[in-house]
Symmetry: C2
Subunit: 308 residues, 2 copies
């Protein structure tokens, strides 16, 4: 017997929430989906595309009667939404989210939700170049990782049901300590984005940006792509996973000083050591990915890999 | 009447030199190609693949009788090779190169070659994931940029013949001031590689690299790919375009301090400003690329673009 919900509320109907709704419907995990967005146009699209059964601009209205609530709004907006839905939540409703920062969202849930034991923090590692509910696809989570970061305060059954929800739409669920999540994501996602935003901004402010872009070689082109991500989403991440990101930045800066000193000293051995270790890390990463592929035989991930 | 050479010597027979030889033969720009490599196996491959007519382990022997010499050895090896070939060069031979750093190579040519006016510094902006002469393809330079950085001391005819050589194999030739070349490449290629090498090394030395790679999200994955480049090639670049790269690093570090301060101060506006400017820079870059595509209607570049 797979998990089943009678009424799912998606607060923040965009790519992430819309794709979960589509996938959950397709897998017959939900009977009815109500979508909530800040723009009527998103609701109209969601209705027209058959992603939701009902749409409302009110988060409080959306959660009425729902046994599953998925919060997919920007991280900084989570507390506002939680405060808004709290009075209308069913006591047994399971609430989960898709935010990229987990401690901040979890803390907000502890303070604002009536039954925080039923709030299961989650973070699907998925995305597309496009955004918005119009870009939603039922296979977005197929064979992609979803990290859940439950704590000892969570109701075990709520966690289990959220695990089954994600597995039911084809995702690979992994449970990670909530502090560890924010640290690992700071290192592998938030810091690289910070560096890309900062580099592209610094160079393009130099006044000779025409030449820079005209001759942009492989390296810079990759940085500009990373730096094309949504400023609003990343502002929220940088302001709500601040300490972990600053800690990762400090580690990076320490390494950067060593690289600079090696160049200034003309120290070929030191440079070779740094770059050889970086090469080995890449090999390790590719091996991990290959093992992952072999274990899961995922055509979709193969496409990703060739896309690198 | 297109340019024509009777005997081309390729010193450093790998992907870059091998592809130029293949393309020049295919376009009937050369009668005969002699390859020089440090390993006999490369010469054997070059002969077997029909890339060269003759092979030799001696650079001095290779250039005898050649009216065109292409140097495609690592940047730091250029002076050694120049000293070796100098006594054997035909007085009218045109010498050009494919090094990523131009002032250092040009300076070496002034000091070591018998007729430095016939040395035309060049830098093809091309590459593949694979390396070695076995990876050589005749279309490598088709619709790709080749930057030439001649100086006032150059013989005009030598420059013109090298322009025609590259245009004859389908490349888009652009002439750039030699100091400007090293500065622009430091910013768009050498610094991004430095940052990627340094980040991947710093994080993987943290001792928790398993988690980092396991959960590696988009940003870090791109950095590991950039950091998978050849340490030897990049050691030479960092040690021979040192000042321009350090200058670019200083610009980057200044921007990074501002980003850190904005995060520490919780300054949402400052973060938004940085990231919005970076977004705009990306848009500008894509527009430039689209214009380039429209002007050249290049299926190959379209594939590259979709690969980002």
């Amino acid at each position: 017997m797979t998990v089943h919900f009678s009424r799912m509320a998606v607060i923040g109907l965009g790519l992430i929430g819309g794709s979960l709704a589509l996938a959950a419907r397709k897998a017959a995990l939900v009977d009815r989906v109500v979508g909530c967005a800040s723009r009527q146009a998103s609701l109209d699209s969601g209705l027209a595309l058959g992603i939701i059964d009902e749409g409302t601009l009110s988060a409080a209205d959306a959660v009425k009667g729902a046994d599953l609530v998925f919060l997919s709004v920007p991280v900084a907006t989570m507390p506002t939404i939680m405060a808004e839905i709290a009075p209308c939540l069913r006591p047994d409703a399971i609430v989960t989210d898709g935010g990229s920062v987990k401690q901040f969202v979890w803390q907000a849930a502890q303070e604002l939700l009536p039954n925080p034991a039923n709030f299961v923090p989650g973070h699907p590692i998925a995305g597309r170049e496009k955004s918005g509910v119009e870009a939603a696809v039922a296979h977005l989570y197929q064979d992609h990782r979803v990290i859940l970061t439950p704590t000892a305060d969570n109701a075990v059954e709520a966690v289990q049901r959220v695990v089954e929800l994600w597995e039911g739409v084809g995702a690979i669920v992994e449970v990670l300590d909530i502090v560890e999540h924010d640290r690992v994501l700071a290192e592998t996602s938030h810091l690289p984005h910070l560096l890309a935003f900062s580099l592209v901004d610094s160079l393009s402010r130099q006044g000779d940006s025409h030449d820079i872009f005209h001759y942009a070689a492989g390296g810079f082109r990759d940085f500009t792509r990373i730096a094309s991500s949504s400023p609003v989403m990343w502002r929220d991440i940088f302001l709500h996973n601040t300490q972990a990101t600053l800690d990762a930045l400090t580690v990076f800066e320490t390494g950067l000083v060593q690289f600079r000193q090696a160049m200034e000293a003309g120290d070929a051995n030191a440079l070779m050591n740094i770059m050889t270790r970086a090469n080995q890390a890449r090999d390790y990463f590719l091996n991990l990915q290959n093992n992952h592929l072999q274990n899961n035989t995922l055509q979709q991930n193969k496409e990703q890999e060739s896309d690198q």
